[in-house]
């Protein structure tokens, strides 16, 4: 079935216009993210620093805030937003399920289990260690899901989804068990699970950057095979693509993108669900356009949520996932209410 919005009411915004508007919003938000923040630095000072005022550049405190706090944060928000938006769009397309979100392949639950187990067993809470646990857990969990879903038979969307759901439940149960038996770990975990971008460094971004770049590259290569796959396995095979291989490669790309994002800023599943819907509000047809718009939408929303997280309860910080939910929940409702949903179903999932 060709995914498209059937008979949407009203005038649709042109895809290019939407893309430019969103790209402009992203750039503006990057600027805002550099200008505003916690602490007592006036906006004008930050602005002067950005435009290269030598007096401001000489101020060591200001330079420290701008280069080692705000810039890494903005860069990470941009990267994770792009990653989650792309991953969400890929996953909804490959599973043909509009309810799929990026935690579906067990990435978030695996990362959480690894973090919990790491803190409990190795009793270390340092940020780089937690990041490493999350990254390993995410990749291991998703690899296991793929192995089980693809084992033996041809991997169907339903197998992929069910294997992901099953392992997610197991991982979540195991981490709950560990959390129940250790109060100190729970105390650390309840803050990690909220997700935050505060305290990320460029060094940490550098660790996961290879995964992100490979993920984006693979996503770009997947546009044609995945688009063909949405016409059905037989048609795709007739066009010279391999459905099974395409699914595996897509799932690997989703894992790389989501795993990197989760390691950097905690388990944020919702953005991967929301961004494809925003993209679909602007464009209907081709997968390439939707992927691009999803990535841009993801970056925009993530930046907006992170800026809001810094500003709403100054001088404290709100967790970014709460802001994402508060901004994104109503946004999703508006999108769903104003446009007819595409009604893709899991083939064979019907009772």
């Amino acid at each position: 079935m060709q995914p498209r919005i059937a008979g949407s009411s009203g005038r649709r915004i042109r895809p290019l216009t939407g893309a430019f508007a969103m790209a402009a919003a992203t750039v503006a938000l990057c600027l805002v993210s550099m200008l505003y923040g916690g602490g007592d630095i006036p906006v004008s000072a930050a602005f002067d620093y950005l435009v290269g005022d030598p007096l401001r550049r000489a101020d060591p405190h200001l330079a420290m805030v701008m280069t080692s706090l705000r810039f890494p944060r903005t860069a990470v928000a941009l990267c994770t937003g792009i990653a989650l938006g792309l991953a969400g769009c890929l996953l909804q397309s490959v599973t043909r399920n509009p309810l799929a979100e990026t935690g579906l392949l067990g990435v978030n639950a695996g990362a959480a289990l690894a973090v919990v187990a790491g803190i409990t067993l190795l009793s270390t809470e340092a940020a780089p260690a937690v990041l490493a646990f999350a990254l390993c857990g995410a990749f291991a969990a998703s690899g296991l899901v793929l192995l089980i879903a693809g084992g033996g038979a041809r991997m169907s969307p339903l197998r992929l989804v069910l294997a992901g759901v099953a392992l997610t439940a197991t991982f979540r149960g195991l981490s709950s068990y560990l959390l129940l038996s250790d109060a100190a770990t729970y105390d650390r975990y309840r803050f990690w699970v909220l997700g935050s971008l505060s305290g990320v460094t460029l060094e940490q971004l550098g660790w996961v950057l290879p995964a992100l770049l490979i993920g984006v590259g693979v996503a770009a290569l997947l546009v044609r095979p995945l688009g063909a796959l949405s016409l059905g396995d037989d048609v795709a095979a007739g066009l010279g693509h391999r459905p099974g291989t395409t699914r595996v490669v897509t799932a690997v790309a989703v894992t790389l993108l989501t795993g990197a994002a989760v390691a950097l800023c905690g388990p944020i599943g919702f953005l991967g669900l929301l961004a494809p819907y925003v993209a679909r509000a602007f464009t209907g047809g081709g997968l390439g356009g939707r992927l691009l718009l999803s990535a841009v939408a993801g970056a925009t929303i993530m930046l907006a949520a992170d800026v809001a997280a810094r500003l709403v309860i100054r001088p404290y910080e709100a967790p970014v996932s709460v802001l994402l939910a508060v901004i994104g929940g109503p946004a999703l409702v508006v999108i769903v209410r104003t446009r007819r949903l595409l009604t893709l179903r899991v083939p064979g999932g019907a009772a």
Binding site: N97, P98, L99, E101, I148, G151, G152, A153, R154, R159, V161, L162, A163, V165, A166, L167, T168, A169, T170, F171, R172, G173, L174, S176, Y177, L179, L180, S181, A183, Y186, D187, R190, F191, V193, L194, L273, L274, Y277, A318, P319, S321, V322, A325, V326, G328, G329, P330, A331, L332, V333, V336, R337, R340, L341, T343, R345, V346, G349, A350, A351
Partner: protein, 342 residues
């Protein structure tokens, strides 16, 4: 006319009943499983009243202390788990059929999060102790579901709009819960955390009774809804041609499912996975039945009570039923998945 294979027609003058032997046999077998689960649940626990003595005390045999432990602590807890599981199983069956999507569970329409927030408020409000008032769960669940349907402005195509709106709103509600948990002091937060995992500790007839009544009242309409939901599988146009009103059926089925799930969550917290796995298993066991409501319900009850018993059986620390269903339910679903051809 010959009946469809796998069915038996019983005729008596003008009346006739279509029976499906396999689902019927599965149902009877599951009743046996419920009895076994009851004996097991009574026999397992801390203290000295275990094993055969406990089962004996069920009928008034043995020492009076054992009788009191069994009848005041264990049987009520078993009953609470049974009704909660049954309600979850039926709700899951209805919603999966409604959305034709195995990922669709009652918590997608915000039931779990609504119930959790309500219980959280009743605890933070500070009148009902660490586990909160029992009625807070169902009330919160209903409120959340009503909000979701109202905001969605109806069900939309094949009920998808309400599910997506439900995800959006429940993420927003959930974020508030997690924020509140992160701001509470660590002891209160841990108490609430174990509730959010799905825990039957200290649940008795006071809680089980309203759910039981709800189950008894809602089961007939659930069966009726399942009957008409079957028609929708042929597509809305065909169903309308056969005299069904698709939107009304969907709204009705969703309402019943939400009520049942809300009651269940009020009893035992959001017990993971039962609403999803019970219908899948039921479908496999009772092959000919297109919408196996009763089998799903029985399976849900058995799953929850056995999980609760297992949680008490090992070690000194009780493990919440929801943790057990999560840990064991995952591999079980995988086994179901892998043993299926292709």
């Amino acid at each position: 006319m010959r009946p469809h294979p796998g069915t038996v027609v019983i005729r008596y003058r003008r009346f006739s009943v279509l029976l499906r032997p396999r689902p019927l046999a599965v149902g009877i077998g599951l009743l046996g499983a419920v009895a076994a689960a009851c004996a097991l649940s009574v026999a397992v626990g801390n203290g000295e009243t275990t094993g055969f003595t406990a089962v004996q005390a069920l009928w008034g045999g043995g020492e009076p202390v054992a009788g009191r432990i069994v009848h005041v602590l264990r049987v009520p807890r078993f009953v609470a788990g049974l009704v909660a599981g049954a309600a979850l199983g039926i709700a899951g069956c209805l919603i999966q059929t409604l959305a034709r999507n195995r990922l669709a569970t009652p918590d997608l329409v915000g039931v779990n999060d609504g119930a959790t927030v309500a219980v959280l408020l009743s605890v933070v409000g500070g009148t009902a102790g660490a586990v909160g008032a029992w009625w807070a769960g169902p009330v919160g669940a209903m409120a959340a579901a009503a909000l979701v349907v109202a905001v969605a402005g109806g069900l939309g195509d094949t009920g998808y709009r309400v599910l997506v709106v439900g995800i959006g709103l429940s993420v927003a509600i959930d974020a508030v819960t997690e924020l509140t948990l992160a701001r509470q002091d660590i002891d209160a937060a841990r108490g609430l955390f174990s509730w959010t995992l799905g825990y039957l500790n200290g649940r008795d007839y006071d809680v089980a009774l309203p759910v039981g009544i709800g189950l008894a009242v809602l089961l007939p309409p659930a069966l009726l809804a399942a009957r008409t939901l079957r028609l929708l599988r042929f597509g809305d146009d065909t169903a309308a041609g056969l005299g069904a009103v698709p939107t009304r059926i969907r709204l009705g089925a969703l309402g019943i499912a939400v009520l049942l799930a809300g009651l269940a969550v009020g009893v035992g917290g959001p017990i993971a996975f039962v609403a999803m796995i019970a219908p899948v298993l039921a479908q496999r066991l009772a092959r000919e039945s297109p919408v196996p409501v009763i089998v799903s319900g029985l399976l849900g009850g058995v799953l929850v009570t056995v999980a609760d018993t297992l949680g008490r059986a090992f070690g000194t620390v009780e493990i919440p039923a929801g943790v057990i269903t999560g840990i064991l339910g995952g591999p079980f679903l995988l086994w179901v998945l892998l043993s299926r051809r292709g």
